[in-house]
């Protein structure tokens, strides 16, 4: 499939279906974009497994860090790549090897050859996007920044649990 644009339905299905996300390039530095994304996705109750050889054995945001994807001791639904486009090559092959269902490359990360291999192996691929931003666009939180979601809906936004100022991408009634 083409990867210049993604339909709302495609992104929504991925973010609704995945539960465990391995985040490669997760940082312990609390002003790094990967830290922001990880913290946000944890509040949306995803199970995040940070991967970073320099932090292996320690914890980031209370989650145990692994040195590589192959060492993770639980099934992974999605691999989120916070590394450059070149590094995404080998990481995509590892994602295929560990049985992930989705390979997600962050903003400014794109590797079409790797994407093609992943799709041949039956994985879904998203490139040059941030799952935090996409979650915000789908839930309605993105608009709080005055940012364009591209969505129009006459349905009430869905609150996330019992929190203040937190919206969910769950379909109403589900």
């Amino acid at each position: 499939m083409q990867h210049d644009t993604y339909s709302e339905a495609y992104i929504r299905k991925i973010l609704q279906d995945v539960k465990t996300i391995a985040m490669v390039g997760a940082s312990a530095n609390d002003v790094r974009p990967s830290y922001f994304a990880m913290k946000y996705l944890l509040t949306k109750e995803y199970n995040i497994v940070p991967v970073n050889p320099r932090e292996a054995g320690r914890e980031i945001l209370g989650q145990k860090v692994f040195s590589s994807l192959s060492e993770i001791d639980q099934p992974v639904d999605m691999v989120d790549i916070f590394r450059n486009s070149e590094a995404a090559d080998a990481l995509t092959d590892e994602a295929i090897a560990i049985g992930a269902k989705v390979v997600w490359m962050q903003l400014r990360v794109r590797n079409d050859a790797a994407a093609e291999r992943a799709e041949k192996a039956g994985l879904k691929v998203v490139m040059d996007r941030c799952p935090k931003m996409e979650y915000g666009k789908l839930s309605g939180e993105w608009g709080w920044l005055g940012a364009v979601s591209g969505r129009i809906s006459s349905k009430r936004a869905v609150l996330f649990g019992n929190r203040i100022q937190s919206l969910s991408i769950a379909t109403r009634g589900s």
């Binding site: 913290k39 608009g143 709080w144 920044l145 005055g146 129009i152 349905k155 937190s166």
Partner: protein, 429 residues
Amino acid sequence: MSSDDTPHFDTLCIHAGAQPDPTTGARATPIYQTTSFVFDDVDHAASLFGLQAFGNIYTRIMNPTQAVLEERIAALEGGTAALACASGHGAQLLIFHALMEPGDEFVAVGQLYGGSINQFNHSFKKFDWNVNWADATDLSTIEKAVTPKTKLIFIESIANPGGVVVDIAGISKIARAAGVPLVVDNTLATPYLCRPIEHGADIIVHSLTKFIGGHGNSMGGVIVDAGTFNWSREGRYPTLSEPCESYHGLKLHETFGPIAFAIACRVLGMRDLGPCISPMNAFLIIQGMETLSLRMKKHCENTMVVADWLNEHKDVAWVSYAGLPGDRHNKLAQKYCPQGAGAVFTFGLRGGYEAGVKVVSNVEMISHLANIGDVRTLIIHPSSTTHRQLSEHQQIAAGAGPDVLRLSIGLEDPSDIIKDLEQALASAV
């Protein structure tokens, strides 16, 4: 999201950014007339202050009513995000604050709203932000005005008050070659008539007070981020590319990508300088935006009728309206605003200054005041009011010489507008 899914302009005018309230189901956008928003817990508060979570803290920085206005105008312009401000001037201050360091320069064309010329020549100079003036009708003057210290180029799409339509794509090429963003004030055109981002603009600024609000009741301004400019490429915009001290070393462009400029204006400029819009004004401007297409269509129709009539009038020396066939800017108008050249134009009387002053006193229905973009028809004599602070040379360069009258055509029946002008002209000569 896929661009194929993007709804059309008229639909965006009504719906973009506005989803029913999750707790009450309110369909119209509620007026969140509150200064502040409670936190869930200490961690939630810390996440909000650290920009790690989406959410409202304090109405100076953001407010849910304001956010609807912002998303809507950004969607209409084809941008990624917006920041609403107390006024268009406030918006301009925040744009320059994000991009300029003391000692930096910028290029602006002389065909601008008189208030902007003042802001650039005097108030910005106090920050050591230095303007180099050029002529929008001669692109070579813009090229020549660019120096290694230039940080941005500033133009209006349709210039106020002269009826000048500016070659946005041509100037965008100069900006690209210079490695600086093109900032376009799109107030007179509105995104209904012209979307400068499609022609290469990187940042859009509006006075929302005019046609966007449209009813002459609320002040407001807005910055729209096109999401097109690479702020980190050459390190010329340290506010966006370098670690930000007041956020513990966060890099705004790296973190916020395509909305980084709008975020920088919000979390630095708005946070520290404070020209925020009131929720009530945001609400009233949202109301105006819902009918933007209908109003702009009628504004342009009425303006053609009145401009045509004035053009034939024996006491009128000239009419400067780019919508008129044969006007010197008609070709550019057909390229950049094919649906109409706006509703603000100037004309001069054979009786010169004296006759002009009499006309603004003689009008009965038409309002003599210093605004444009109202449902009501407005008239002003710029050289004695909006452009008064400028030298005669600057006035003429801005299309506001001593003999010039400016009209902002409203939504009345055009025959009544003409009737009022007819009697005002008859008793002026």
